[in-house]
Amino acid sequence: MAISSLTLPAPIRQRLSVAPRDFYRRDHAVELFEQGDALGGAIEALRYLLPGMEIGDLMSPLRLVQGTARVYVSVADDILTVRAHLAALGDPPSTAALRFFLTRISGTGQLYQPRLRGDQVVLEFSDRLSLVHPLKLIELMQRIAMEADNHDQWLIDAFGVTTPDREPLTALSDEEFERAWTIWQAHWEAVDALMVESRRRRIIRFLDALGAFAVNQVRYTLPLFGSIRQRLNDAADDFTDRDEDPSKRDAALSKCIKEMRAIGREELRANLGHARYAISPLHEGTPSLLTSMLGAGSRMQATSDLRAAGRALEASLELVADFLYLLAHHTWSAPIEQSLRQALDAVSDKPWREAADTLWSHANQIARTYGSHGEGEDDVDEAPGAEHAVTYQKAMNRGQGNEGPASPGSRRPSRERTPVMWRLSVAASPAIGAHL
């Protein structure tokens, strides 16, 4: 039977309590560094990055917890070291694990690298204090913490390594797990049913929305870790990739649905848990993002056209995917988060047409109330949200958040309309460009 509504449950994932950062501290850190007090600058930069945490003098290591990762910062002999243990390889070491670290974690464009210390693989950065500019330290801490958190239990499952220095997760209560199991089953059943609709319609835009819904509802509602998270992220890399052939994306999503529906209760239980984060793993939501996703523009116009054409399923799926994306990947002030959540509550288990109309009016209301109203609004009319979803996911999975070619802007069509003379020298040859 065709699916007639979506269930949009409240999250089991705990809300991140993010203390606001004091930008003065960051500026002060730079001042201290430029005055020659590199240690003072580093401590102040950490105070900015980790508000509320006791930083100390760094002579005894500072330990912070990021999901399942423990990240250590210390200073000895004027050398600042940031370190996070990934795995112990054992004897003999796994060749596949070594290859994985060399291909997926080592790389250009990042300050930390995996290093082999005995049989331990450690994400590490170490340099003279005078070469640790506060802004560099802030960037390094954010990236290394996120990278270390991404490689958790799944390394054990995939390569048979051990992970001796990891932070344990807090198990879900029985009640929480029962809810999680219900959410999991209902979600993938709904995605499976929508997959049938996608194949019937053969519309790429529908596939875009379905892929975003499939992955973001899980990310938003469930505190998922380990191999299941890794498998889902890997699959999402393929089925949300708008540059990929639609038939391949379709096949990747279909395969993912089968895999996820085959996961049993205990396997899911082993991959769920509550974690603490010293550094928010989510982006800070901004008014301009709300405007670009939910405000007037070509994106919402296209959704409006779907509603006007009676294509309520497509319209509501797109809107649901957008709301889930905003909640799954960003932190918001309590009133905005509440508004976004209320919209989903209002349409959960409601027929498509009602859901589309309700979400549409909520979107308008939220954009009007909390969106940006200044300059630059004209520049956000090209569906950045979906692009963000893909790009952010790739950055999260691959640890390449700062690589130039992945920027959302790179896919934007040229706005030049009049023919102009083009000089024919090359800014950089593809031989170089391929490594960017």
Binding site: T95, T108, E124, E403, A427, A428, I432
Partner: protein
């Protein structure tokens, strides 16, 4: 002989070379053994450029003449080269549908030949005449020769219309001949031709001494006579290259990009974002056996701050410098020494990987410089 019948080796023997600056790359062709003609926009505002020979070695070239309005330039090479000269056609009677053959380095690829016809022999654009062609031309073709069936140069590739298909333009041979003839007749070491009256201007001046044209407002003439300040990142990288005995002019590969070989090892330097300067050497390829020992070596903590990674089967040796450090003046020398160490180490490490770990040379390795049995 018809050019389309020329064998590949014959194209390779022609005196057409890739020109590199800190702004980009383009094409140039020999007008004699020591002089190359290209576009002004390929070389300006640089006074020194690199010219890559067929064996991938680069030689230095010094810009001698610029004609910003007609978009032509002449570069004197640091030594004579033996590429085959092509005559500049004396016959200015071109006709529509006449075959043309374009040589160049499109999008930085190796020397390529594209073909088409003359769409319009005397197209007026921007108060100048151009030879219009439908042959495929792309960024990197700039400054390359447009040839007729007798392998004579009938125009020099310069530009195309954006957002239009197959509308490319060449500077007609008549203008090229005049530019070259003027150069040979003039004694000045360096000069820029006035865009209005073609008077040769040899020193910085606001107004053309002959016709009074305001030079600065039309073509940024100051830049041709007075080098503007390099970006601090460029200053840092090129200073570090000098410390490693690498000539930065020969290493330039476009904006904030450098590439060169040190011994056998290829080195690439680029700025991928606002935060990182990347130094990388794709130096070897993995063997099929005994990989664990190799991978353990590559991941060893002993290499820090240098690191290795794998892209496919290619082993790269990498160093990352944060741009914030480049602006910390007191540490520049330390960083430059680190870069110099990286460059020197690349040359020895590829040998080590090949000899001790059974690796194969990477595609870009200059195997003639490898030590041991592969050398």
């Amino acid at each position: 002989m018809n050019l389309i019948d020329i064998a590949h080796d014959d194209i390779e023997s022609l005196g057409v070379y890739q020109v590199y600056t800190g702004g980009g790359t383009g094409t140039g062709f020999l007008i004699d053994a020591e002089h190359l003609l290209t576009n002004c926009h390929v070389v300006a505002p640089y006074r020194q450029v690199a010219v890559e020979m067929r064996d991938k070695t680069r030689i230095k070239g010094t810009v001698k003449r610029l004609h910003p309005y007609r978009d032509l330039a002449i570069v004197r090479l640091s030594r004579p080269v033996d590429g085959a000269l092509m005559a500049i056609s004396e016959n200015d009677e071109l006709r529509p549908k006449q075959s043309v053959h374009i040589l160049g380095f499109p999008v930085g690829l190796p020397l390529s030949l594209t073909e088409g016809v003359i769409s319009h022999p005397k197209q007026l654009l921007d108060e100048q005449y151009f030879v219009q062609t439908d042959a495929a031309i792309n960024p990197g073709n700039s400054g390359g020769p447009i040839l007729n069936d007798r392998r004579e140069i009938i125009a020099v590739t310069t530009c195309k219309l954006n957002q239009a298909d197959a509308v490319g333009f060449g500077i007609p041979a008549v203008d090229v001949r005049k530019f070259v003839a003027d150069f040979r007749a003039q004694g000045a070491d360096f000069g820029v031709q006035c865009p209005a009256c073609e008077e040769l201007i040899t020193r910085k001046t606001r107004y053309c001494p002959n016709c009074g044209t305001d030079l600065q407002s039309r073509h940024d003439f100051d830049d041709y006579f007075e080098a503007s300040d390099d970006h601090p990142l460029v200053q840092f990288v090129e200073g570090a290259l000098r410390q490693a005995d690498i000539d930065p002019v020969l290493a330039r590969h476009g904006n904030h990009n450098w590439s060169f070989h040190v011994g056998s090892a290829p080195i690439k330097i680029w700025c991928c974002c606002s935060e990182h300067l990347n130094f990388s050497s794709p130096m070897a390829q993995t063997p099929t056996r005994d990989l664990t020992r190799l991978f353990q070596f590559l991941l060893s903590e002993d290499h820090a701050p240098i690191a290795f990674d794998l892209t496919g089967s290619t082993i790269r040796m990498n160093l990352v410098v944060h741009t914030a450090d480049v602006f910390t003046e007191s540490e520049r020398n330390v960083l430059a020494a680190r870069v110099a160490h990286f460059i020197r180490k690349a040359d020895s490490t590829d040998d080590l990987l090949i000899q001790q770990y059974g690796c194969q040379p990477a595609p870009e390795t200059q195997t003639a410089f490898l030590k041991g049995e592969h050398g």
